[in-house]
Amino acid sequence: MEEVVLVRYGEIGLKGRNRAFFVRRLEENLRRALEGLEGVVVENRFDRLVVRPASSPQEVVERIRRTFGVVSVSPALRTSVALESIERAAEEAMARALMGKSGATFRVSVHRTNPRFPMRSMDLERHLGSLLQARFPGLVARMKDPEIELAVEVREEAYVYTEVWPGWGGLPVGTGGRAVGLLSGGIDSPVALWMMARRGMEIEPVHFHAFPFTSERSKEKVVAIVEHLRPWTGQDGLHVVPFAEVQRAIAASVSEPLWTLVMRRMMMRVCERIAHRIGARALVTGESLGQVASQTVEALHVIEAVTQLPVLRPLIGLDKQEIVRRAQEIGTYELSVLPYEDCCTLFVPRHPRTRPTLDEVEQAEAQLPVEALVAQAVEQTEVVRSKETVTA
């Protein structure tokens, strides 16, 4: 009898011939997620992955649950398919589930895929049920909504467990290609990046830092958000683009109502350049239709016009309340609302243009040395990790 963690994946099982590719990726991601925990082994068993934790199964379960592609997780006891071994595992699992309580309602459910096992599922259920009742007199059998459901899966080996923890679903990160994600540190963009990572995208976050108009602390806050998302995204680097020069240049040569639009276009240009450099094929933003002046459909059209890459906006149809709820659920909300001053408000026009045309914005950029500014910003971009800084 040994302790294992059963890892179930759903959607990726359906992907026909790609299946092996998805599962291999999930396996790799699990290995990475479990890095640093000693002696952990990941095994690939037909339609399950099985993790053997050497110690602290709780930590292992938590890390696995946050790996996208995982539908659910169960800490389980694994035994050979000998009846006595299964009996002993069932007793042990029940003892743990009772946690010292004398009684509970319960049910045994058996799932058998091993045709060589001599008992039928229903017979094994009855057998284990009466065995457990004999051993734990306080147990009362109940088929509907029991407090404890003891599950037995009889495969090449048998797995016995009482708990099923949901994962976050989605697809393994890395199976959905690579994108550049714009991360501002506000509430929306971390959620947008998280949502695309859940669809299997590997996302390189990019942050625009307008020091001295924004503080060093606001950058640290974004690094903290990247770090917080890491269990899901597997991503620990943040591309920090110095943006003060661009802000100044825009304010100096573009008419005020168009500042934000031109700024967003400059961000897209820089991101596209970074995307080409790192082999990314899309941009991800936290824009949500109508939330602010630069998020009208006319504005989005003008902003998007500068890039050939698809701009993915997973929040586009969500209400603010839904976004906030998701941010709270994944824990980025508290980081996002930290009150470090963002002097970028200095460059927010008093009366922003909400229905811009491409022509007027292109004309407004005529005086702006676009190419030089973009090249310089990309050139000076640094990759920051939570503890160290390296030049990209």
Binding site: F211, P212, F213, R217, R248, P339, E341, C343, L346
Partner: protein, 387 residues
Amino acid sequence: MNRIYLDHSATTRPLPEAVEAVVHALTGPWGNPSSLHRMGIEAERLLYEARAHIAAPLGVDPAEILFTSGGTEANNLALWGAVLDRPNPHVVTTAIEHSSVLEVARRMRDRGVRVDIAPVDREGFVRLDALREVVRPDTAVVSVMLVNNEVGTLQPLEEVVRILDEVEARSGRRPLLHVDAVQAFLKVEVRPRTQRFDLVTLSGHKVGGPKGIGALYVRRGVRLAPLLVGGDQQRGLRPGTENVPGAAGFGAAVQAQHRTWPQTSERMRALRDLLRDLLADIPELVPNTPAHCTAPHILNVTLRGVRGEVLVHRLEQEGVFVSTGSACHSRKARPSHVLLAMGRTEEEAMSSIRVSLGAETTEEEVRTAAQAIHRAVEELRAVPARR
């Protein structure tokens, strides 16, 4: 890049003497000062010496010095301690106190304590006429800071004492006088006995000591209610095993400056005045620190059209470290309550910086910083951003 640190009102570099005393307390006599045995007595001796060092420039008895976790706790203890065991108390303070006094006053008010907050004039001095009107025989405590931490004004404590004298002469009852001297200690005279202060707040890290240690002078005979309970250390007024390393570091820092601070202070004042002169020709500069009755180390100015926060970061790029107001609330874009109380507009308050000098500040540093401020202001004003 050389760092020019001009944010000494936020904190100061720990003096070597202080560092050495902290290390000594952690590695030498590290016992619990309450222990009966010799190791306890050795640790207790460190505490006593620290009290004596701090008491010396104040001219008070070491037994009147109570260690706290810092200025904030000392202010809380002084105010709550004077009020807690009294029926229907009344409290008076001013609009420019540190938030550890003002927030306490607001909380007291929320809990039904009668509180009056005296306004200040445009130069940042408490309005004595207003103060005289609100101090009464049943006032439990009057709290007025000696030096304001944001603009450096030296408050007219002598006049405040005179108001208390008048109340006492009329009614035979005298409110306690609490003085927050965190920014004043070792910069200007603080002599509680001659100046007739009952409670005085001090902080270690503003005078070259470590952070996490402060003190409250409690005049013998003044009864305060403790905020913390659970032990009889420090006369039961501040129970808990004493922070011996902190106290020793604080004491050593004070001892190191006991004789020299008046000259240091004079030198700082000359440099501060030099800085003011060097900045005077910046267009649309409005000094918030008045020309008279100020501490020697603080200069606060409004620079119209430049956000203080942005200027701080711009100067940081040149290795010059200043602040927008007191560090405690400069993380948030909130105009300083002190400048607002002095009648500045929100716009003016958001466009100000505080430069604060230290004992180690040199003339060269002041000249370099002044040039950096000139350049940064000119450059930032050229950015056609919203203001």
